[in-house]
């Protein structure tokens, strides 16, 4: 990078480093080759083909195996050459040595791209592996864009393309794009997102990144109208300069949430100055990500929660919040967490406070903000009125509603009914959706559950159903107040930073 000729400003000239790609045919192929299916025992190609079928992929699936025959109800072609007509995309899961030949034929068949799931390339560190990956790169340069090798491929809800072992990901699209160097992380994030309420536009596990990788994909997703927030898991990058430029450009247009693997300091560098000794890779990485305007997260859960907030909440910073729920300790915890994120929990004005207080029980309740309803069975209609009144406070931009659903176990036991029958999930969710619609201020739902043991599986199930009820109405759900506020904190840094007041 430093060897390239620089312009007067010291930058490498901005010649476009990327090739052209027909992403429409890559993400939404109509005819797709699956090379490497085997009817004897497990094969990655076979597993992926069955996953595509389970997902309801509408295009034409063209399995390939030298032995021919049929696989999962489809005729198997002995070779890619023998497939009539042209193809759009290919899934390649043959032995590493056979990959270049298959890829070349796919190119000649007109495929816009291919995902290579096979491993045995540069990740092995062997000269043979590296040479094979170079061959792939050369073929790619002749006009077929490659995802991988050593990857899980693409998951695209709209087309039904899916990662390797995932036959049951949602077909519903949403605003989140995900790029992941790691196939495991790609799969985990898609699955976590499924129950946490994330919906994806397009996602790519790019593995070794022999051809398409983070910088070019960032540029694509920056311009992709379907994508509103980009999430990225990286361990290293191919070209630091291109990565930085594309990350910064993307983050100026939409939030980019980055989980960087491997931030521990690399020791043993030979350096002579204090500056260099403190400029280990972890510290530099954090600084670079901040400089580019990316949202930095520390683990997958935090990444998912940040994406959820960016997906479902209004695109602006939050100055102050109200917190409503039961129990003084929860309220205090909310205030502590809010303060550490720089979010205000303003006391309600006298008029508003009196109106709220009139709706609460005489003893044990507080309408100061946090609002302690002092009764976990407060009816949905009352909660709706409380939040409707609190929303009139100017300093409140967002409301947090904490439901302690496990308390309903007591009512279930008393009435001799299953807990699912005594908790009005739908009514709770409707009431909160009404608040958002009527006040124009967003509501975050927090569903803490302290009863997660084997004897409380009914409560665990209840929480899953409640979460779904809120998510179906567009309300983001978090496990704990702190998690919700952390996600809001990320929004504040992103939108606040853009407006120039951090």
């Amino acid at each position: 990078m430093t060897n390239k000729v620089k312009d007067k400003a010291g930058r490498v000239p901005a010649a476009d480093p990327f090739g052209t790609a027909d992403f429409e045919r890559i993400f939404h192929p109509r005819r797709i080759v699956v090379a490497g299916v085997s009817s004897e025992g497990f094969s990655y190609g076979g597993a992926l083909l069955k996953s595509l079928q389970a997902m309801g992929f509408e295009g034409e699936i063209l399995p390939v195996n030298p032995r021919g025959g049929t696989f999962s109800g489809l005729p198997v072609f002995p070779s890619v050459e023998e497939i009539p007509g042209s193809v759009d995309f290919a899934v390649i899961a043959v032995a590493a040595k056979a990959v270049p030949a298959v890829l070349e034929v796919c190119r000649l068949k007109g495929a816009a791209g291919a995902e290579i799931m096979s491993s045995g390339f540069s990740e092995t560190g062997t000269p043979e592996g590296k040479a094979l990956e170079n061959e792939i790169r050369e073929i790619a340069a002749r006009g077929i864009r490659v995802i991988g090798p050593n990857c899980f491929g693409i998951y695209c809800p709209r087309s039904g393309l899916t990662y390797l072992p995932n036959p049951d990901l949602p077909r519903e699209s949403g605003p989140v794009a995900f790029l992941s160097q790691s196939g495991g992380m790609a799969s985990d994030f898609a699955n976590a997102g499924k129950w946490m309420g994330l919906r994806f536009s397009k996602t790519v596990s790019y593995g070794n990144g022999a051809d398409l990788r983070e910088a070019e994909l960032l540029r694509y997703f920056r311009e992709d109208g379907e994508t509103g927030v980009i999430a990225l898991y990286i361990e290293g990058v191919g070209d630091g300069d291109a990565f930085f430029r594309e990350l910064r450009a993307a983050a100026r247009k939409k939030p980019v949430v980055v989980l960087k693997g491997g931030l521990s300091e690399a020791g043993g560098r030979s350096v002579a100055s204090h500056t260099a000794s403190m400029g280990g890779s972890g510290r530099i990485w954090r600084s670079i990500l901040r400089q580019a305007g990316a949202v930095q997260v520390e683990d997958m859960t935090e990444m998912a929660e940040a994406c959820l907030a960016f997906s479902l909440l209004p695109k602006r910073a939050v100055r102050g919040i109200s917190v409503t729920g039961g129990g003084g300790a929860l309220g205090i915890a909310a205030c502590d967490a809010a303060e550490s994120m720089g979010i205000a929990v303003p006391p309600l004005g006298d008029g508003v406070r009196k109106e709220v207080l009139a709706l609460l029980p005489r003893s044990g309740a507080s309408a100061a903000n946090p609002i302690d309803v002092a009764n976990p069975y407060t009816p949905p209609e009352t909660l709706k009125r409380i939040l409707g009144i609190a929303a009139r406070e100017d300093g409140i931009d967002l409301q947090i509603m904490v439901f302690l659903l496990h308390h309903f176990k007591h009512i279930a036991l008393t009435e001799g009914k299953p807990i699912a029958e005594v908790v009005p999930c739908a009514a709770f969710a409707d009431s909160m959706a009404d608040v958002v619609r009527e006040t124009g201020k967003p509501v975050c739902i927090v569903l803490p559950n302290t009863k997660r043991g084997i004897e409380d599986l009914d409560i665990v199930a209840l929480h899953a159903r409640a979460r779904q009820a809120f998510l179906e109405r567009g309300l983001p759900v978090f496990d704990e107040i702190r998690n919700a506020l952390r996600a809001v904190g990320h929004m504040n840094r992103y939108y606040g930073g853009k407006e120039g007041n951090p």
Binding site: G10, R269, H274
Partner: protein, 234 residues
């Protein structure tokens, strides 16, 4: 920000087979990039001390200056608050004795008064190229590690945001009778440090420590430029 003549200073040192610039050479490079450094004279003869000291003005600081010298403080090669020609000459003799015949001279330097010490620097990241550092300086640099980095070239906003990122950012505000630091000037210096990294490939690392706030004005009081240390990919 032309840096005219800076490359020549670096090339001369490389021709001499050196891996570092002396403090004085380092500051000359900085000065050529418009970075404020202490006023100073390099003196190589005892009889030149009074004249140089008079030009700089008392009280002053004198330091042993050689490309080979690190840890000047530990070796007793820094004498501060010298108030007249007699003290200056005495300091010259003591420093020369402490240098044990190493080549170089003695720096006669203005004494910058200020209680707030900052650090700036430049290092080369294998992936991202020249990166500029900013943080708390002096002894706190190594104790607190309260620093942050930006990749060069720095935009003005990048440099200003560094001042909000360190934990000790309050040190830049007005407090206890001290003026608020000139953030525009600090930002300008950080942008220029990055420029050196982009312009001069042979400069591997830079330490500016301390950068003292004299009132609101930052001045580089000590500087070290490391040349082309062989680097391996992480």
């Amino acid at each position: 920000m032309s840096g005219n003549g800076a490359a020549e200073i670096v090339e001369k040192a490389l021709r001499e087979g050196r891996r570092t610039l002396s403090e004085h050479e380092s500051k000359q490079v900085l000065a050529r990039y418009g970075i404020p450094v202490t006023r100073e004279r390099l003196v190589e003869r005892r009889q030149d001390v009074p004249k140089a000291a008079g030009e700089i003005g008392y009280p002053l600081v004198m330091k042993g200056c050689s490309a080979g010298i690190a840890h000047k403080t530990e070796r007793g090669l820094i004498h501060v608050d010298l108030r007249n020609a007699g003290e200056a000459v005495e300091a010259y003799d003591a420093i020369l004795a402490g240098m044990n015949g190493e080549p170089g001279g003695v720096l006669v330097q203005e004494m910058v008064r200020g209680r707030r010490e900052l650090v700036m620097g430049m290092t080369r990241d294998p992936q991202f190229g020249p990166c500029v550092m900013f943080g708390l300086g002096g002894i706190f640099t190594e104790i607190l590690h309260d620093v942050c980095f930006r990749r060069a070239p720095l935009e003005r906003g990048d440099a200003l945001s560094m001042m909000g990122e360190i934990r000790g950012r309050g040190i830049l505000d007005a407090a206890r009778g001290m003026e608020a630091a000139d953030r525009d000037r600090l930002a300008d210096m950080l942008v220029r440090v990055g420029r050196i990294g982009l312009d001069l490939d042979a400069v591997a690392e830079i330490d500016l420590n301390p950068v003292i706030l004299a009132g609101k004005n930052p001045v580089v009081v000590d500087a070290l430029v490391i040349l082309d240390v062989p680097r391996r990919k992480l």
